[in-house]
Symmetry: C2
Subunit: 602 residues, 2 copies
């Protein structure tokens, strides 16, 4: 009761009229009440450490201070994880829960300089190292004796791997590889943690031996002295500069001036270079596929988290905010009563469910394929690769649009960093690829002749639409199928609302793509439009309940507009008062510039 | 010749194959060679002062330092303008050229805390003050004896003016108005320069006299002591906190605790309060219309400038950047050779022309209406109001999409602040309204009965589409008509390319809105699609020439990706090296946190 009192009255009214059990939906989303309980326990455990608290909100810090704060937080986080593992003997699942997803991003809101150590450095050692190499490196990496990252992209070269310029030339005289950056465009560019954090790096380079190039291979290179952290001779390393978002990730550049590493620093699980320089070919590249698949599926889950946060913020704000008049002489309505607002929010909510269930479906498919791989069957690998690539592209693009739409749906206040929405857009936007790359991946499998490429380019505008349509069809069918399974044991009211969301999603995309549906007539469009609006009206009373069920606690949501109690205006003012500019009534620039200008004495 | 040598070879090749005279187009856009010369002269004059130079790029500064730097720059800029006016006796046109448009934004890249002084404070004094009030205030304001801003929006209330809560209650005993903020939601929120810069403010407040409310009226209120700059008693003022962009504008909040101002600080050109408290009604509100119209037309021009910058950056980068392979064993093509890229860039270029010419057309229409107003005719005013509102909404939305599409078209490097595109998105995005407000403005003129409002809400998704379609139709027709006039005296090659751009724009929007064109059949769509792709192919060789013609010099473009010489990679590295983090090989956080963590001693 006492908790209810402090909640904004409009928000409370929304909760009172919700037709389904929010807790039931939360349990369903977590995969059962035990999982919900476990999740909350970990959240409590981690958040009570207070690492996420900031004296001055990071948006007021300088670029350099932001990096320093993110190193501090990342280190304290790992210290805590170590302690928890020792004290409470919690397993690796918790470890992952703390590092990724909602909780990790709540603590390191603008990215972590240690992410690539766990997400790319260690997995690549595991996937591409021989047993001996794994024995040597993985323990050191897990123990954080060394901090690594993974460098592939170059200043002049992105996703097209064959275009990379960095060379690793084998010298049989000394049994060493010589790493070299022949041009400015060959500098490694982008890897997180590379600039000032990592002291080791897996470098992807063109392997030359006996005068022949054998393509891209992975090499472990030490970048900095383990004791002083000074860059080693021949290593040119630094940060690439300020970015739209992710300014806590310490993205770096890296150039080599004939840097020598021992032969066994090439990861040789697949391909090998023998002592005399003989190249022995790789039996398969399935593990490269595997790592990328894992990264993509995780990314789709991440996007779902961001979208869930964004729609939670925008929906609660829309229940609290009143604006304009629908009818003369009536009070200003909640903006949630505007159909255009319902449209933006509910499509966002249904997309979270659609993507979450599709990611789950893809994950299951991946596990099946991995089992097949172990049995030597590799036929479904390219299909899965193309699918994951395409889903990733559609999901990241839609997520960016959803977050931005939520920001705009909050009007001017969405422009405040205190809303958390601009920062979130920066993060989501970092994951966007141009869908065209994926089309290439898919189309390559179907190509028929040499002239095809020109034709492909000429018609690629349509092709992209076509392959996007294909992806969306898969998304819709997996969303529909997986929801059917999900609601089997759900109560009737919950089942009803989840199925309404599926309908909304499908009708929305049918309307968006009317041009693709050539057999549709004008009356069909009108019918779809009417259906869509009726679904919005039916879902309207449950909008707040639907986002409450995502169960994102305030510390993780981190938004003045979206907190559970709906005290939007109080929080906006509280956040404003945290600005260092507000600590002094008169800024020194008045005395230095403004007053002299006003008195004609500048 | 010597200049040509340093230009990237791909970019030079693009320039060599351009089919029209870039200089001719520049002259056409400027409105004649004399204007081009004059513009360049002013640019030279202002830029040689070096105010735009920064020791450390502002993206590396803290929020407080950013404000301090923008005050410094704004003050130096005005000092220079004063000097130029005295020395060279240049008129007001130059004054405007320096403050607004390309040049002003090049110097104060993230907004100026003095903008509202010129854009709202002075114009409102001129528009709403009596002759006596103008005599008293305008000289002081122009002379910068005082610095003002304009406060309307409140924390809990946006564009719906009747909902504002701040009160100004007349006290006939002392002949004063008492300004008061009855609630937290009534705090003024957002005005630029309000936080720590302005010492005066025009405050929009609900006027109460003799116990009656007469709606919103403007009051001049002193906020800070003219000498010490300390806030006056009863004034609660500060900044609203960090935002997505515009962090140089010093947006503030403002609350009143029974603050008394003299009766004649109410601006009384239209409505009056007599000494005894009698309210005398306004004869018309035409001047409020006028100010807003002016602001909107200027805004459309601003959006054109941002779009021109964004497409210049993305097009030049697309000529320099090579990626992937179209055909096996061929070198990586320029990304400008991909049809999908051409599509993004050329639609952006044609939109700049479309919006520029539509703004010009609106401006002429506005001047005609103003002439009519002076003659007592006011019939066309609401139509013009609705049109300008609607065009503003469509243009700001499209500009934001265009800038963001250009950013994404630059791949990962578009995510770097050194590209200038993220900051530009922040600026353009600040101007976006939800198109729905404009629909309201238009629809209000057509409403027929009481039940209409419910119907309006229920079908507003379609209505917005319909009114957007109406706007786009006007845009297309004004673009077409104005281009016809523009090219009358142009050379044939230039005429051809400008008309191709119009075709591209129209065909693109026809394809985008196939759903609206119910009479269209499948074959028509195919025909349009083929036409569209043929236009892209024809325009492709002129892409770089078309953006060169915008003639945005490097200091104004301020982008590592878009400079005239195309030295993209060199500039990216040069910019990276400016990061304060790169001044030290080892950051102190290594010794404080990383090393202790690695040694288990944190």
């Amino acid at each position: 009761m006492s908790q209810t009192k402090s909640v904004n009255i409009d928000l409370q009214r929304e909760r009172d009229k919700c037709t389904f059990s929010v807790t039931e939906l939360t349990h369903l989303l977590d995969g059962g009440p035990q999982n919900t309980e476990e999740r909350k326990k970990i959240e409590d455990m981690v958040l009570k450490e207070g690492i996420h608290n900031e004296d001055i909100p990071s948006e007021y810090l300088s670029h350099k201070e932001k990096y320093e704060q993110s190193v501090k937080k990342a280190c304290l986080l790992f210290k805590m994880i170590r302690r928890l593992q020792e004290e409470e003997n919690t397993g690796m699942e918790n470890y992952r829960a703390v590092l990724s997803g909602m909780l990790g991003s709540a603590i390191l809101q603008d990215g972590s300089p240690l992410t690539l150590h766990y997400v790319m450095f260690i997995p690549t050692l595991m996937g591409q190292g021989t047993v001996e190499q794994q024995a040597y490196w993985i323990g050191r990496a897990f123990n954080l004796d060394i901090i690594g990252t993974y460098a592939q992209t170059e200043l002049g070269h992105g996703t097209f791997i064959r275009g990379l310029e960095t060379t690793a030339t084998y010298d049989p005289a000394t049994k060493e590889f010589v790493l070299h950056s022949p041009t400015l465009t060959s500098y490694k560019w982008w890897p997180g943690g590379l600039a000032h954090t990592a002291n080791y790096c897996i470098v992807m380079a063109q392997l030359y031996t006996k005068g022949q190039c054998h393509g891209i291979h992975p090499f472990v290179v030490q970048l900095r002295d383990e004791d002083t952290h000074m860059p080693l001779p021949g290593i040119k390393v630094g940060e690439i500069g300020a970015k739209l978002g992710m300014n806590g990730t310490n993205n770096g550049f890296l150039g080599f001036d004939h840097v020598r590493i021992p032969r066994d620093h090439m990861l040789m699980k697949n391909s090998k270079v023998l002592e005399d320089g003989t190249y022995v070919n790789a039996p398969s590249s399935k593990l490269t596929y595997g790592t990328m698949m894992f990264v993509r599926v995780m990314l789709v889950y991440d996007m779902c988290n961001y979208m869930a946060k964004a729609v939670t913020i925008a929906t609660r704000y829309s229940a609290v905010r009143h604006q304009s008049q629908l009818k003369p002489n009536e009070p200003e309505p909640q903006i949630l009563d505007y159909v255009t607002q319902q449209h933006k929010l509910l499509i966002g909510i249904s997309s979270v469910h659609a993507f979450r269930l599709s990611a789950q479906w893809l994950w299951n498919m991946y596990n099946n394929v991995t089992a097949e791989l172990d049995a030597g069957e590799m036929e479904r690998l390219p299909e899965l690769h193309a699918l994951s690539c395409c889903l990733k592209a559609v999901v990241t693009a839609d997520a960016a649009e959803c977050v931005e739409r939520c920001r705009l749906a909050c009007g001017g206040h969405g422009y405040m960093l205190a809303s958390s929405l601009p920062l979130m857009y920066g993060l989501v936007s970092a994951a966007c690829t141009k869908v065209s790359q994926c089309v290439a991946a898919i189309e390559q499998r179907q190509k028929t002749g040499m002239a095809y490429e020109d034709a492909w380019n000429l018609t690629s505008v349509q092709l992209i639409s076509a392959s996007e349509a294909h992806c969306r069809a898969i998304l819709m069918s997996s969303y529909y199928e997986e929801t059917q399974t999900l609601v089997q044991d759900a109560s009737d009211p919950l089942k009803k609302v989840l199925l309404q969301l599926v309908d909304l999603y499908v009708v929305y995309w049918a309307l968006q793509r009317v041009g693709d549906l050539t057999s549709i007539c004008e009356r069909d469009v009108e019918h779809l439009q009417a259906w869509y609006e009726s679904l919005l009206t039916q879902l309207r009373p449950n909008a707040v309940g639907l986002v409450d069920a995502f169960d994102i606690r305030d510390e993780i949501l981190h938004s003045a507009l979206g907190s559970y109690d709906g005290r939007v205006y109080e929080r906006l003012m509280e956040e404003a008062l945290k600005s260092p500019l507000n600590k002094e009534p008169v800024n020194e620039s008045f005395h230095k510039y403004l007053k002299p200008l006003m008195r004609g004495k500048l």
